[in-house]
């Protein structure tokens, strides 16, 4: 029988300290029961030093004081019941239902921290997912089982883009393959959560969505568990129930800020910008849960969204994410200001997995060439634009003028597309060729003669 503890020594932000504790384990879940109301808050042991224990509380610690609560050690690690019935339900950041539905009952319980996937158990992801968005499908192709974040900025159209992907993405090869969506809202505004809920409704997928929601005004410490609960559900559905799961996670920035807050409460030595030195490993423990396995049919495709403070891609949150994920879709403020939707800044965007998922047999033989050429030419556009700022567009050479035209057309026709417009990949590639034909052939050094023969628009 476990003892109850009545005395809290110290409350520091989301942490409480208690002393004279025996027989608890690292990571053990505790219930903190309000002596008057009987309300229970949950927490977890994050440090044991002799008989002193530090507990991270997942809900707000306000009101907690020395004598008003009882602390019960549960003898369990943080587990959630897993079942197909999770679908269509809404939970808070620690996995409690908030949709007035009943509790989920299941014999299967899973530790929300997961365990690292053995690299020899993985299968390298190679299946193309068509999102219907030209810039993504052509230039930063999404692959089933990939972790591909959206690097955005405050006020940009990342939510719309994520919603459009959810709506248009063809996750399964054919209709019988089960697919589902897991949505983790981490420190988001009620508006944003509402937007997603509406777009799931419109896409008619609400009964396939599992939602874990931590609102901006919810306790910060719960942000640490929100994505873990979501990924645990995703692992269950993908690897136990053979479903193709798309996990949308927003906003990683709020997650990292919560991590920083807890770290600073623990008085840890900070690394860059006050974020803890282990933030890389911590983020990896989330992102690396995406993937495909050799002997399971399902997959987890992970689409985290983060808002870069100051639009700065070198900020630790974006930086460490980019070091872990398999590429990134970067949104650009200047494109957004010019009303281009989706404002995908293609040059810093990258899909590391696209090389094996495109080309003959997957999309079309010319895909790699077209992508490379669009990148190279559009990167040249940036240089020409810089130059035209100085000497004026009129004084540019004839070739450079063509690059200016190409740049404008590329943004207006290729990048820009309607929120409800889905283009298939062949359409996008043809559009790419059409735009490239604005440039003189001698400038197109990434295209093979065979592809030029076959696809370069003849009449102009």
């Amino acid at each position: 029988m476990k003892r109850d503890y009545l005395k809290i020594d110290k409350v520091i932000g989301p942490l409480i300290q208690i002393s004279d504790v025996d027989d608890v384990f690292y990571g053990e879940v505790v219930d903190i029961v309000d002596n008057i109301t009987g309300k229970v808050k949950k927490g977890k042991v994050i440090k044991i030093e002799g008989k002193n224990v530090v507990i991270q509380v997942f809900q707000s610690t306000s009101g907690l004081a020395a004598g008003n609560s009882t602390i019960k050690f549960t003898g369990e690690s943080f587990q959630l019941p897993m079942s197909l019935d999770l679908q269509g339900r809404i939970f808070n950041g620690i996995g409690e239902p908030i949709d007035n539905g009943s509790d989920v009952f299941s014999m299967v319980e899973a530790n929300i921290n997961g365990r690292p996937i053995n690299p020899t158990a993985r299968e390298y992801p190679r299946d193309f997912i068509q999102t219907g968005i030209s810039s993504i499908d052509t230039l930063a192709t999404l692959i089933r089982g990939q972790k591909l974040p959206i690097f955005s900025g405050n006020g940009l159209t990342h939510n719309e883009l994520a919603a459009q992907i959810v709506k248009q993405a063809q996750l399964g090869d054919n209709v019988d393959e089960a697919f589902g969506i897991v949505f983790a809202a981490i420190g988001v505004k009620h508006d944003d959560e509402n937007f997603f809920r509406k777009s799931f409704d419109e896409a008619n997928v609400m009964d396939r969505v599992v939602m874990f929601v931590n609102y901006a005004d919810d306790p910060v410490a719960e942000r640490i568990t929100t994505p873990r609960c979501a990924l645990t559900a995703a692992e269950y559905l993908a690897f136990e129930k053979n479903m193709h799961i798309l996990v949308v996670m927003t906003d990683i920035t709020s997650y990292c800020e919560a991590l920083r807050e807890i770290s600073s409460a623990r008085e840890e030595v900070p690394s860059r910008k006050g974020y803890p030195g282990y933030m890389y490993s911590d983020l990896a423990s989330l992102y690396e849960r995406a993937g495909m396995l050799k002997d399971r049919k399902g997959s987890i495709t992970l689409l985290p969204i983060l808002t870069m403070p100051n639009d700065d891609i070198t900020h630790p949150i974006a930086d460490l994410t980019g070091y872990i994920t398999e590429g990134q879709i970067v949104l650009g403020r200047d494109l957004f200001q010019r009303s281009i939707y989706p404002p995908v800044a293609v040059l810093p965007s990258l899909s590391r997995l696209m090389k094996d998922g495109i080309g003959e047999g997957f999309t079309r033989e010319d895909h790699a060439d077209v992508a490379n050429q669009l990148f190279a030419s559009y990167s040249r556009v940036q240089e020409v634009r810089d130059l035209s700022q100085i000497i004026g567009e009129d004084d540019l050479s004839d070739t450079d003028k063509k690059f200016m035209d190409f740049g404008r057309a590329f943004e207006a026709q290729f990048l820009n597309q309607a929120f409800d417009e889905s283009r298939d990949i062949l359409e996008s590639l043809d559009l790419g060729w059409h735009l490239l034909s604005i440039l003189p052939l001698s400038e197109l050094d990434r295209l093979s003669p065979e592809n030029i023969d076959k696809y370069f628009p003849k009449e102009k």
Binding site: F25, P119, S271, Y278, D295, D319, I390
Partner: protein, 595 residues
């Protein structure tokens, strides 16, 4: 192993903080001793001893651990089992085989699976080359095993033993734990020689002496082999922000380098990248041996989601394995992707120890750890009298892509080749995004004889000339950005045109193209030489007053840019034909102007 006596000789866990735990009752423990922690017998290593209190870094997940549980000593430091069975396999940071772990636990890696290492049941056909009465010194080769199709594992007397042979087992099949030879040393002590022996990971293996490195590691990558060559036994850093091409470059080196043995360490990086290696490497044929490159490869994986303490160890595990093959007389190349994750692991452990941080939270001993690591590279005469080398190529992942951070800066001090990856080149899809202005190789001088003897007498001077051209282009580009290209005089515009061929047609090398992924030195040289030929042709034309616009024939230029794809690696006659085309075009053009 029954645990009978209560706590006898065992430590008691008193504190737990992530991967770092403390124990009491540890006076009999030794510094750096390997220990088993708690009920689940997690593997750990003693990193601080202070009276009866010890601090341990744990190589497995510590969730579930309790104070009061026992810490069991093993009496030995964290060690590897060195013997046949490592090639073609992938191990975690402390040499546990990941395929075996998968058999124990599907999908996920659990904690508490215990120590394991190379296969102890497998039978190997052993040839023994010594006889009774022979005197064996440390490092002497006493037999061999054909470990893979291309690698003979030479069985060595461990570095710390010697003696006279008193017993030899008959030829036959044995496991790594069977006794093959017995020797008696001067103190009449008898030592059993087996296929495998243990070696502590943190102790460099001894060699006879260090030699100068005079041979390049041929990688088949133009920008490296011609512009910034790596010496066998040398040290190289590849720093770059995310997405600039560190991993692809490391993969390319692992695939195509002409080393005998490759040790590839995925240190704190993506799981899928290791999966890719396991799926792809077996299919790639080594141009040297004609066999799959896996036959010569050892893989170490501590992916970013695996325990952080084992990440710290993975680097040492890798380099110790490299030294083991070096001691057999092999040229070993070792890739570590990424050394920054190792440094961060040091930082994390240091933080949990509450040590005084130096720069950016890194411990003050970061520079000395980096130095010690890279110093394990080199060309050596082995104890057995052979020549062996270790080339270390470390990727560096600077925070924010900024090379002025501590890991990049301190690495730069201890390596001789610096391949600086450039975000802007990567954005423009110029791969490999190795910035030719910032990168350098400290081996040009000592390798120039080799290049002159083995490639072409003018190989290095050609390289220098083309590098100068690129420097000049850079200066001119700055001017172009101010006034536009049209204003430049013709000779400078010609430099820009040729530099473009060098950049697009030569420095860019597509890792995913069948022909271009690996290019033999002859072709590397011939390509550059032909570009120089075009350059000089144009310069003669300029002297005749021919404008650049006339000198640049877009068809010829496009042939130059595409020659890497169109001219097969094994038939360079196309380059001669290209030169002929150049001759015909320019002779005609010059005639027009001469008249």
């Amino acid at each position: 192993m029954a645990e009978t006596e209560q706590h006898e000789g065992k430590g008691i866990i008193s504190a737990i903080n992530g991967p770092v735990i403390k124990g009491t009752n540890m006076t009999t423990f030794k510094m750096r001793e390997m220990v088993m922690v708690g009920k689940n017998r997690l593997i750990g290593e003693v990193i601080v001893l202070d009276g009866n209190i010890g601090t341990i870094q744990v190589y497995e997940e510590t969730e579930g651990l309790k104070t009061g549980e026992e810490i069991t000593p093993t009496g030995r430091p964290l060690s590897l089992k060195l013997g046949p069975g490592m090639l073609k396999n992938m191990f975690d940071g402390i040499q546990r085989p990941l395929e075996k772990i998968l058999e124990i636990s599907p999908i996920f890696i659990p904690e508490g699976i215990g120590l394991m290492s190379i296969d102890e049941k497998k039978l190997w056909d052993v040839t023994i080359s010594v006889k009774i009465g022979d005197v064996l010194l440390p490092g002497t080769i006493f037999g061999s095993v054909q470990e893979t199709k291309v690698i003979e594992n030479r069985l060595m007397v461990p570095p710390n033993i010697s003696g006279k042979v008193i017993e030899v087992s008959p030829i036959g099949s044995y496991t790594i734990n069977d006794v093959l030879v017995k020797i008696q040393d001067e103190k009449n002590e008898i030592h059993e020689l087996k296929m495998a022996h243990e070696w502590p990971v943190r102790t460099p293996r001894p060699s006879a002496y260090r030699q100068e490195t005079l041979v390049p590691l041929i990688t088949g990558q133009r920008v490296i082999d011609i512009f910034f060559p790596i010496a066998k036994g040398g040290t190289t850093a590849i720093p770059g922000g995310f997405g600039t091409g560190k991993t692809i470059t490391q993969h390319q080196l692992a695939k195509w380098s002409d080393a005998d043995i490759i040790v590839y360490i995925g240190c704190g990086e993506r799981g899928n990248e290791m999966t890719e290696v396991i799926e792809d490497f077996p299919k790639i044929i080594d141009p040297k041996s004609g066999q799959s490159i896996m036959e010569r490869t050892v893989l170490i994986a501590n992916t970013s989601n695996m325990p952080v303490a084992a990440r710290e160890a993975s680097i040492y595990t890798g380099v110790t394995i490299a030294e083991y093959f070096r001691d057999m007389g092999y040229a070993v190349a070792m890739m570590a992707d990424s050394t920054s994750r190792w440094a961060e692991a040091l930082r994390e452990i240091s933080g949990r120890l509450e040590e005084m941080p130096a720069e950016e939270g890194y411990p003050a001993y970061l520079p000395s750890r980096i130095a010690e690591f890279y110093e394990r590279a080199g060309s050596f005469e082995t104890l057995g009298g052979d020549e062996g080398s270790i080339t270390i190529i470390g990727a560096v992942s600077p925070a924010g892509g900024d090379f002025s951070e501590p890991v990049t800066e301190n690495t730069k001090r201890f390596v001789n080749v610096f391949l600086a990856l450039d975000k802007n080149l990567a954005y423009a899809r110029h791969y490999p995004a190795i910035n030719w202005l910032e990168s350098y190789s400290g081996y040009i001088k000592i390798l120039s004889d080799w290049y002159e003897d083995n490639v072409a007498p003018d190989c290095i001077s050609l390289r220098n000339k083309m590098l100068e051209l690129l420097y000049e282009e850079n200066k001119l580009q700055e001017m172009v950005m101010l006034v536009g290209e049209d204003v430049l005089p013709d000779d400078q515009r010609w430099v820009l045109e040729i530099a473009k061929i060098v950049k697009v047609g030569y420095l860019q090398q597509n890792a995913y193209d069948k022909e271009d992924t690996y290019v033999p030195l002859e072709k590397q040289y011939a390509m550059l030489k032909s570009i120089e030929y075009l350059y000089e042709k144009g310069r003669s034309g300029l002297k005749l007053g021919i404008p650049t616009s006339q000198l640049k024939d877009s068809d010829i230029f496009s042939q130059f840019i595409k020659m890497k794809y169109t001219i097969p690696n094994d038939d360079l006659s196309g380059i001669d034909r290209l030169k002929e085309t150049v001759d015909i075009y320019y002779d005609e053009l010059f005639k027009k102007y001469e008249n």
